[in-house]
Assembly symmetry: C2
Homo-oligomer: 127 residues x 2
């Protein structure tokens, strides 16, 4: 795997930890490009939108934690497969995040989020 | 990009079209490994589980269509970012699918599915 893919994977994992687990916008900001185009329909566009989202987390879900289960990369894209837990729902949510980097900076974000159901048609889990 | 990554991307896109759009299990089967470990909680494990899912689609959503918006690959993994439409809900769903291949055959599947909301905090869309 090329060094840029590995560097992108590392940057995105550190960025994600600052956003979701540490809820530290100033540290996350250092990983971001100028635009940070946002495709999550609950979050406003740009770095300011992410800042407001982190404030929302701090206020409403101060104990929210996410565990990265899988990290993949292709070109300028990094994909995270994530288990998100926002107490009191301890079963949590499955999320797949896609980030696009420009010159090593996180500049665009998509995600898809699903509640993990209580019952499953198979015994493999969502991860 | 290596030839195996390109071959995996091609195989997964063809497989996905047979499953979701053509609803043709016998053709899809040729792309599958023996195990086809399923992580979607609504679908039973293995090739037989996928066969039953295709029958479910034919019965309940014969006009279901999916459009692949983005194809990424890393090692044995292929990621699809998909717009799924099951009439009569024409706004549809955003899905990110992850497939793991073994020797070029699709052998494991995860996904996360979210209804596209009517309103959004940004104007970028979910894709």
């Amino acid at each position: 795997m090329s060094s840029s893919l590995e560097a992108n994977k590392k940057a995105v994992q550190e960025f994600y930890d600052f956003v979701i687990n540490k809820k530290d916008f100033e540290s996350a900001r250092k990983y971001m490009g100028g635009r940070y185009k946002q495709h999550n329909p609950l979050v406003a566009d740009g770095p300011e939108g992410l800042k407001a989202f982190i404030e929302f987390l701090k206020t409403n879900f101060p104990e929210a934690r996410s565990e990265i289960k899988r990290v993949l990369a292709d070109g300028d894209y990094v994909i995270l497969h994530v288990h998100s837990i926002r107490p009191p729902n301890l079963r949590g949510r499955a999320i797949i995040e896609i980030f696009r980097l420009e010159n090593g900076k996180v500049d665009e974000h998509w995600d898809v989020i699903q509640e993990i159901p209580e019952e499953s048609a198979n015994s493999n889990g969502m991860f």
